[in-house]
Amino acid sequence: MTTTPIAPALPVPAPRATGCPFNPPPAYTEAAATASVTRAELPGGAACWLVTGYPEVRTVLSDRRFSADVRHPAFPFLLPGRREILAANPSFLRLDDPEHARLRRMVTGDFLVKRVEAMRPDVQRIVDEALDRMTAGVTGADLVTGFALPVPSLVICLLLGVPYEDRDRFQSLSRTLLSNESPLPEIARAQEELEDYLGSLAARKREQPGDDILSRLVARDDLTVREVASTGILLLIAGHETTANMIALSTALLLDRPEQVDRLADPAALPGAVEELLRHLTIVHSGLPRVALEDVELDGTVIRAGEGVLAMLSTANRDEELFGGAGHPSVDELDLDRDARRHLAFGFGVHQCLGQPLARAELQIALATLFRRLPGLRLAVPRGELDFRTDTLIYGLRSLPVTW
């Protein structure tokens, strides 16, 4: 099934502008300014739709006529060839209901708001200890390896029951899996290695259970070992990569906006400040992939059954009508006092981030503690030399040299 193109398709992924590392690629912003739905071309030449408007992104992510099933032949990929790897044993993130709900509901109990609230003292201790280690006897460090990555890795290891000693292995495998520039055989190998790793860890926990998610999953008789492994991989990767990059990017951005840092010290302003950082940075930056199962009209454009869609959270989160308005600067500016609660940084619909209460708690505690304990925190390299990770599904920083 084809649709007559009106304008040349926009190649995705589009690059960010030099000197504007915190703003979406100009091509996406321009597309969003023209229409809510734009014809795009994926690497490898396949066509798909780029959905950039806030209401339309919400519809794509919450309307059952759009599928998240990675096994669908028209499911859009930024890296052609990833389909075969991911379709072999998809996590519930890449399945539709009822398969999705069945698996997701096995772990929702571990991320309830009240459970996360009860974990706050643990998170605070992990944050304090990471800062103690990073600052011991030195006046500068790489904030990514010293703080941003250890904090969420330690938290998710604790929850899942993964030994933190194995972090080098799972962090490196995660990054291979998430990169659009990894050679396909390496991605396939990383997927297999992570599955083997979590599968054998789960098997050990069947014998010697702990008070953790993997132990609880492997004890169930309605889950296969492969399902335990795919759920474990999803939680492990989503649990450390996203929050780590949010901590690092937020720090880099706030070092550029020192006049706003004091908002983090106000407990009443802190939750709202973190929502604004989530909105402004939108680290899941390359679009959430879906496939239309029926013809759907979005803002005057008909998306045909069997066509791929990328729902762009980053442009939706720059909706001027929703997030701008009187008394606030443009949505392209960071404003920690803005009401950003309607942001879609965690997605929308039934696949919306399961760990968002935990992510919020970690970000609030990590950022407030970092800037309180290191009031002289500053970049140790010129701003233009920061090494941003643009090739991955999750935006971030490879390193963040700081001094204090």
Binding site: R342, Q352, Q356, R360
Partner: protein
């Protein structure tokens, strides 16, 4: 103001508890949405509307009661009317 929750649509994102903690809870047994209150004060209406709008599964339904116009409109009578009509639906 009438509120109902559909536990079959709930995906346990916790958005309702985050945005309106006085009104919503998550069930210890299955993680699904629970209503903590069956009557609502006018100062809770904004939170209630936001929680409904931002529920990712569309599990919360809000019926803006027309009690205000039916009952010659004081805030007090509207609140009483809300208390009577509040329901907990779903599972």
């Amino acid at each position: 103001m009438q509120v109902s929750v559909d536990r079959d649509r709930c995906c346990s994102s916790g958005m309702c508890v985050t945005n309106a903690p006085e009104i919503f809870d998550q069930d210890d047994r299955d993680g699904l949405v629970l209503l903590r209150q069956t009557s609502f004060r006018p100062d809770q209406f904004a939170d209630l509307r936001l929680a409904t709008e931002l529920c990712p599964g569309g599990a919360i339904s809000l019926t803006e009661s027309d009690a205000i116009s039916l009952t010659e409109g004081s805030a007090i009578s509207a609140t009483e009317s809300d208390a009577i009509s509040a329901t907990e639906g779903g599972a």
